[in-house]
């Protein structure tokens, strides 16, 4: 199975070096949690790994292809085919139903999402999201689980999550953390930036970022 390998990754904003990572392997089946103080570059690293930012130096290799060298269009396509994203504030379309939200990634690829409707509904069932007319009517925990279902619709090999439990209460946060761990257990690479002890406790590996240095705790 393909894995995400990082070599000599270096990316700095004007303010100074932010991320410097000599080597990292994100192999399937493991939940990796990024920790570190605010501003330490957790989000930046997630964007680098997912091809949203092109690193100034180094390589992010997937299945023999260096994402850092791909043009934007190809990186979009890579994310479409291989990556799912979960954000702190869900970023759902509140006007649409949970299922319509979950089906969004299928809309980029095809006119009809019918082929995916069954899987979308099943994911929502699996995460215990009730059927509502609009996402705005869901609880926060339900919304984040909807976002998780959306990230999983096209069965991605890698799941990126940026503080996925930060805006949830403890119980809802635990539910999402367990779901992320379950995803890793299915054989996906799951990498989440988080301060949440519950999520950290479930991690198979922890990366700690501080002052541009990254420490790895297995």
């Amino acid at each position: 199975m393909a894995r995400l390998s990082v070599r000599g990754l270096r990316h700095a904003f004007a303010a100074g070096p932010v991320v410097a990572l000599e080597a990292l392997e994100l192999e399937p089946g493991r939940l990796t949690v990024l920790t570190g103080p605010s501003g330490s570059g957790k989000t930046t690293l997630l964007y680098l790994l997912s091809g949203l930012i092109r690193p100034q130096a180094g390589a992010v290799v997937w299945d023999g292809v260096d994402l850092a060298r791909l043009p934007e269009r190809a990186r979009d396509r890579w994310r479409r085919g291989n990556a799912g994203f979960v954000f702190q504030d869900f970023h759902l379309l509140p006007e649409l139903s949970p299922l319509q939200n979950v089906l969004m990634p299928a809309r980029f690829a095809a006119f009809s999402a019918r082929r995916h409707a069954g899987r979308g509904a099943e994911l929502l069932r699996r995460f215990g999201v009730p059927d509502r007319r609009r996402v705005a009517l869901l609880s926060r925990g339900e919304r984040q689980r909807t976002a998780l279902a959306r990230a999983l619709l096209l069965d991605p090999a890698v799941v990126f999550a940026d503080e996925p439990t930060a805006s949830l209460d403890a119980a809802a946060g635990r539910g999402v953390a367990e779901a992320l761990q379950a995803l890793a257990a299915e054989g996906r690479c799951v990498i989440a930036a988080s301060h949440d002890p519950d999520l950290i406790a479930l991690a198979g590996r922890r990366l700690h970022l501080e002052h541009g240095r990254i420490e790895v705790f297995a």
Partner: protein
């Protein structure tokens, strides 16, 4: 790729703002449509009003003035065609018929026009009720004039802002009748005096009502031309004591006339007659042609109007565009999230374009009935003012105009779409 669900979500996000934008587009469309439909209605309405007036012969003067007074019954200053010449025109054998028109008097808001029974028939194509006038003190009224058959109408001689020289308001005053009698001069016999005594302030009795014509004549009171002549102390064109009305008149007794309508039998005759009476002593013209000349002059005003409309539309479009860009700036995270999920740039481009296009199309479609309603309203107002019936309709040019607006909107929608297309994903996620 299917942007529809995403566009639906975007549209549902700020329904009030979007409705406002669509309403502005509708306003812009309606404005253009109303101006254009109105202009066409004016042309058609005025052309129809001039329809029955093939050729007008009158004393030398402004054709526009004559058109206004003879066809549209507006009070304007018109010279009289001298009696003998009028007689010659009226008896011209090359015309299918020729009818005198004498105007200047009024009943309330209605103009009172003196002519012949033949012309009444020609104008209205038959009466809606009653019969034509058979005596000097009988009248046929237009479709919109109030008053039952058999009712008497008081006629005021002369108009406040006066009219045909010689058919002057002051002549109504009996105290002046002799000096004015004198003014009217040489072609009157002394007998006019008693005629005038008999008819000067006399009411006329309604004997019939014309069918609606959609022209200012719907408000006219039409009387025998002899009534007007005699009211202004000019005789009747008939020997004294002869109570007959209508032609033939006697050349040497014939009073002057403001205008004569002729109906030539053929196009060749029309040009022949016009040439014959386009002399130093008289003018002859086709009202339809004069109208076209007027339109040409008005064309400049129309162009200015359309230019102003276009400027207003451009301003509206610019305001909407600025508003849309501001609204989209607030939505940038939605686009960035989709991009992070793998949406290609062209997906967000297409979505934004559709989003704007839906607003433009919806607004333009709403603008069609709105513009139609606006032009109906303006038509009704102008009809009330002029008596000319206007039917403002949506024609191809209005649809084309709305289509052009939609097209412009579609093109301009590329702008916000392009901006979102160019937005870096990571910045939008922050």
């Amino acid at each position: 790729m299917n942007p529809v669900p995403f566009v639906r979500a975007l549209l549902a996000r700020n329904p009030r703002t979007i409705r406002l934008f669509a309403a502005l587009v509708a306003l812009a469309a309606a404005l253009g449509i109303a101006v254009s439909a109105q202009e066409r209605a004016l042309r058609q309405g005025s052309a129809r009003a001039a329809d029955r007036f093939d050729l007008i012969v009158a004393a030398p003067g402004s054709q526009t003035d004559l058109l206004m007074s003879a066809v549209f019954l507006r009070p304007t200053q018109v010279e009289l065609l001298p009696g003998p010449l009028a007689h010659r025109v009226l008896s011209d054998r090359d015309a299918e018929f020729a009818a005198p028109l004498a105007f200047g008097d009024s009943h309330g808001d209605s103009p009172v026009i003196g002519t012949t029974a033949d012309f009444v028939a020609h104008l209205s194509g038959g009466l809606a009720e009653g019969r034509g006038f058979a005596r000097i003190d009988e009248a046929v009224v237009g479709a919109l004039v109030e008053g039952e058959i058999g009712a008497a109408l008081a006629i005021r001689h002369g108009h406040a802002d006066d009219v045909a020289a010689g058919l002057d308001a002051d002549h109504a005053a009996e105290a002046h009748e002799h000096e004015h009698h004198h003014d009217h001069g040489h072609d009157h016999a002394a007998e006019d005096g008693h005629h005038e005594d008999g008819h000067h302030h006399e009411d006329v009795v309604i004997t019939g009502r014309m069918r609606p014509t959609g022209t200012p004549w719907d408000r006219a009171v039409v009387v025998p031309v002899e009534y007007i002549w005699s009211a202004h102390v000019m005789g009747t064109g008939h020997p004294p004591g002869d109570e007959r009305i209508g032609p033939p008149w006697q050349a040497e007794l014939m009073p002057g006339l403001p205008a004569i309508v002729m109906k030539p039998a053929s196009v060749a005759d029309a040009y022949g007659l016009r040439a014959r009476y386009r002399t130093e002593a008289s003018t002859a013209f086709f009202p339809a042609e004069t109208l076209i000349e007027l339109y040409a002059v008005m064309g400049d005003a129309t162009r200015v109007m359309l230019g102003l409309t276009l400027a207003a539309q451009v301003l509206i479009v610019a305001a909407i565009l600025a508003g849309i860009l501001a609204v989209l700036d607030l939505q940038r995270r939605s686009f960035a999230v989709l991009r992070a999920l793998g949406a290609p740039r062209r997906y967000v481009f297409l979505s934004v374009w559709l989003y704007v296009a839906v607003m433009v199309l919806g607004g333009a479609l709403a603008g069609l009935p709105l513009g139609w309603a606006a032009s109906q309203l303006v038509s009704a107002l102008i009809s009330r003012e002029t008596g000319v019936a206007f039917a403002a309709t949506l024609g191809w040019s209005e649809l084309a105009m709305a289509g052009l607006l939609v097209l412009a909107g579609f093109l301009l929608a590329l702008l916000p779409a392009w901006r979102v297309y160019r937005q870096p994903v990571v910045e939008g996620l922050r």
